[in-house]
Subunit: 298 residues, 6 copies
């Protein structure tokens, strides 16, 4: 290579890139506080999931004899990693002192570990909902190991805690990591009841101010979104719908708007497009789809 | 860290997690047989794909001189890994003796290796269908290396064999692994003819009892699903549609129901929603979509 | 294992696979030029993204003192890797001499490095569009680290250069790699203006001959596709729509056809299906969706 | 490559190698029980050393808050790995049933974990001996992190337990692993008292039936060996010397023979060659070395 | 860090290093042919040893059913890697054309693979010699897995072939790699008969023109060296001793000189220093070592 | 496993280990400052060697076009890593404030980078000395890639700087790392002139207060040591010999004592044992070794 590329051309190209860091500084992160690393956040999620579903996501066998030590060692790792990424997230977002950010980060890390039993209680209801809801599901093992919805919900429940407790940046990184894996995009701000089931899941989008009740079931491609976003930048106004208990929403349905309430026990059919609420117990479906049928020529 | 976290608080938190393993045992896997590991199943798929498409998915060059040794060594690895994960899957699902499970696992592993030539025959038709069906495709190489549909179909064909031969858990783990990669979710129970082509593919869902003929073509977001799942838990009733030979289904179409048969040679337009069948040769499309056009103010 | 599997059965199975390589040679790559490796193309993209967004995607801290060396070392790696994969791609596609392919590959690699400042200028507009367009976005950092659309667009802009400059195979491998991560599938042939924003993104498909203006905004599940592909194989005819400046297209909308032009400033509502253009400033939406509401029984 | 190597030549070469496996079966291990893997034994030693010297040989911080969990998790890993390699070692050596070998292996693994406090007690005396014995040593940290003798002794003390408890193969693999690192070769059969110090250490050899008292100090290149090995194959006769308490042996000294006893408190000078014992308190040194001095020509 | 280090100081330091590359070009390798990589040579040795001692040095089980595929795949890898490093070594050393170097490299790689059965025949004699010679050795497995001498001899036998066949650089890299592991330094030019055994081995040095007969046994610290090296630079004169059949040389003995012949069946005692030969059947030992004994004060 | 091991037995074993941390706290490192990690120190050495000998120890090609960027990026990494391990070493050893330790660490890291050209100047003389001194050496490449002495000296020269500049712990960790690789143990406190050559090297020991002149040559097993260490603990008294310019010391020689001066141009023969100095130009050798020759029985 050396013979043909002129050293000055390469040096100039590199100078131009460095110069563009000054020119377009908005997309650099050169001199601020260190950002939380995506790899670290990803490892943190793996540890939390391996504690929440012991025996499923680790190579080593975990049994009654050994689970205490497995849990203890993972919790310590979670504490350390979460403390580190949380401190970075607080300092990249805020104006508090380093000492204050570190103290908040440490407290938050401990709170997450203490929250795990409650998370497991919820996740148990989610797995049972999947088992009840999908005739193709053969066992809890199959669901935990091969249903993307379970992983997406588990990560949401973790991210949601962190979001409620005021941690910036990390909860969104977590939900985006699981979005990449599953195609399911749940904003950490969304509030989700127990026994939640998402089947297949690719393309599901659940917005920041969505409220979802208990025993709700969604299929792939469902959007729970905002009607229009003009002029509401960063307001905390409710922009996404409320789904009450025991609602089922079939594939591809779109439900929009902060005042839209889908009443308890309703069923929303596939591809339905709703910008207003329905009373409890309503079934909404596409009415005789306007299709044109052209028969084959004889 | 040590200064500020109280040892007893941490010990209590860990005790609470261990206690929750007894309380919510449904989502643990602590004392049963070892489950097949996701990493092992993933490595198995990689090996099978590298045998099926030699020269594409491995770093090392494979040529006519050396392919015999490459194939031999990979087949041995497939035999060993498949035997191991299959034995675990049989023992986690069933009540047979360990010896009987191991014998079944060994036979099944050998059968898979012997099935590879037939799989390749089918995959060749799939690649040719992609080449014929997408004007943007420049070569078989481009298709094998950059079309998610080809990978999803290849994995489905492997998982489908294992499913037909009675292996639990593993086929679903395989199809979920490729679902994560491609956004294409084909249940291993679905039956798929030759020359199958899925373009783009994100959001495609094909249910457990679907039957697909030869030379069928699907676009992204197509659902071949069930109408309603109430009360059919784990029955073997046909719940998903039948797509006959030479059917094309455009993006976002939804076809539901076990009795729904799309006749040979039909075309189903984008976003169409069908819960009943159409005769052979039918073209179905959204009839003049009910749109409202609001012109800009002058 | 050895006791029970017959050596001859295994040897026969391996022979049959090798024989199938002769029989179905279309899906082998045994004796041609080496193909570019997917792992290498993936590493190349990582390096390019780490140069484009310094400080975001690498573990090591990059600051004003050190960024020159970071950039220099990465650019050299990009030059070498891109030269290698480009030479393979040219030789697998074409009929030029090895020397000529190598010279083209080297020139192209240098051109990419020199293009990075212009890429950064565009990417800066994209990040700003995201920040302006999503009320849930808290900072540029959050967008760069957790918005799949930004990554998909960045990779598209890189792949698009390479495609315009005549490099086969690699651009499609790049866009497929980011498609797997994000569910967003943009053909490298598509032309995209500045300040482009895709929110959520799962299921977005943008075809080869699409033209997109400035300040365009898309949501998940939008298809910009072809009407019908019969008989146009590999023609360079425009088959995909033109989206003019300042258009917003909501989730699930489908816009098809090479002559379809969405006029500047238009808004296309969710799930809308359009096969013809609209004048500038038009708002198109599903007109009172034909839904059937069935109230709960009293 | 393919063009020039004849397929038949390669196939013949491979056949010849496989044929040589039948011909020279003594150096194959093809059909017996699986052997313990060197990588596993090496990982086992790493875990044991990280428990014995907490805070020194692991990347993660271990502190008073977290050491219990660190220790618990490592002990479980030691139990599992040791059980596995021990079962393989018993079965490759012996004629017991698999069940009996597994039971012995499990008991032995637990015994090793229970022995760790006693090992640490001894290792503490060894580190203190090094600190006292080397004027260049600045701290216990420096000794634990940079004295090869400490590592060699620690591994010997572990291997020696396993050897005493009847485990074949593994103890020798362990001492050979540390021999490669340090150049210090101590047979697991050797018996070593407390406060043992080896300085520099390269070339030290300590034979199988050596007995070493307390507070003994050795320098590099010391051999404690057998006089002659004819006709004693595998007898358990004592073939190597006895070194009583408080003996110092300088670099390059050689002491041979099973009846050779170096009395307590003796000092053996560098390069001394001894095949018989000396009474307590003796100093032995090379007497005015027979050197020839040739002055430079004037 | 950025705040305190001056950019110009760092830039100057880097400039000075680059300038020193021009000034002290003897220890750079910047613009010549690529050198063979140490990692590649190391991997090559691992593969060759795993073929020579199947079942010992690989994690995967190799059995009679599968060894043919294991061997075939490893041989192909050896062919490719050896061809690559050999071509680099020829081109870094010589003046032949690239084509000629590549052809030599390819032929040599194939010759090595074809030599493996003969190597195994010799290695079998070496392992048997160890088993016969060390009363502490319990089995062939123990010797192969934990005797450094066996590994050093095996690597020497491979390196010696390559050296005889005229390959520069690589044989020395190989013997140095095993020297680091074992402390045994055998020059690839040395000629070694069958049934060779080195016990313990640390510090053994065997020079370039040494000739060693059959059934020779060495202990740690033995030097077979040159008397004086003045003025013989790169001559091919014999500078190192000849050791005839059935000689045993004990620890620390030094035998020097190209005309020094140790006659068949001789025994050279520990620490003996010989610069001339002895007739067959001689036993040489340190005669009553000139020691001074100082008794403890009463 | 779980069935047979009693939970309480395991818990008790773990408790006992944790208790032993309190009891034998001398060999823990639980609550002090973090120690420098061995892996980090090892990576630091690799980077420094790859800058000192560019083109030899890295996989990537480094050429005149690219070496500036390679050097810059590695220097930044060296700065960061050295700063980190140095700060830990200062804080584990000393009583200064964290801020003061960090400032010293930063300055020292920069000084090391600025010292590299001078190090290269010395290393060039060492490689030339090896080329001149060993008739078996074919090229500078062979020496740099396969002579352990060159690596040991290079690491010593780096460690020696750090030691002179007052850095605790790290220099000894560095020399011990290369001791493990090469069997050559040079204390960082030793002072070594230019053109230093160590051949073979296993077993060489050079003590803390040794002074070595220019153009000195050592063979394997040479000890430059202290006479006796009683009562001099940690004094800075000179305890090891002085070797003047142009001295050659053959294998196995031992030279002891702080007042022992080997005059310029002297030659010390193999296995010689010296506790006093010799004037310049002296040749010292074992005078007619006292051997006993026993002829074979006729």
């Amino acid at each position: 290579m050396a013979e043909e590329i002129d050293q000055r051309v390469l040096a100039q190209a590199i100078d131009d890139i460095v110069a563009s860091y000054a020119l377009h500084g908005n997309i650099n992160h050169l001199d601020g506080a260190n950002l939380p690393s995506r790899a670290l956040v990803s490892g943190l999620l793996e540890d939390l999931l391996s504690i929440a579903f012991p025996g499923y996501f680790v190579e080593d066998e975990v049994d009654a004899l050994t689970c205490r030590y497995f849990v203890g060692e993972r919790c310590v790792r979670v504490l350390r990693r979460l403390e580190q990424v949380a401190a970075r997230a607080f300092s990249s977002a805020g104006t508090e002192s380093a000492a204050s950010n570190n103290a908040r980060a440490q407290q938050l890390a401990l709170d997450v570990v203490r929250e795990i039993p409650r998370l497991r209680e919820l996740l148990d209801t989610d797995v049972q909902a999947a088992l009840a809801g999908d005739p193709a599901a053969a066992s809890a093992s199959e669901i935990i190991m091969s249903y993307p919805g379970v992983e997406a919900i588990a990560v949401h429940r973790i991210a949601s805690c962190l979001h409620r407790w005021g941690l910036p940046l990390i909860p969104r990184m977590m939900t985006e990591l699981v979005h990449r894996q599953t195609g399911i995009d749940i904003h950490p701000g969304a509030s989700v009841g127990h026994s939640f089931f998402i089947d297949h899941g690719t393309g599901v989008v659940i917005g920041e101010t969505t409220i979802i009740g208990n025993r709700v079931k969604l299929y792939q491609g469902v959007t729970l979104g905002a009607l229009s976003v003009t002029g509401v930048r960063r307001s905390k106004r409710k922009r996404h719908p409320t789904i009450e208990d025991d609602v089922t929403i079939y594939a591809g349905a779109t439900i929009l708007g902060g005042d839209t309430v889908i009443g308890a026990g309703s069923i929303v059919g596939g591809n339905v497009w709703l910008t207003h609420g329905v009373p409890p117990g309503t079934t909404v479906m596409l009415d005789k789809p306007s299709l044109r049928f052209i028969a084959a020529e004889p």
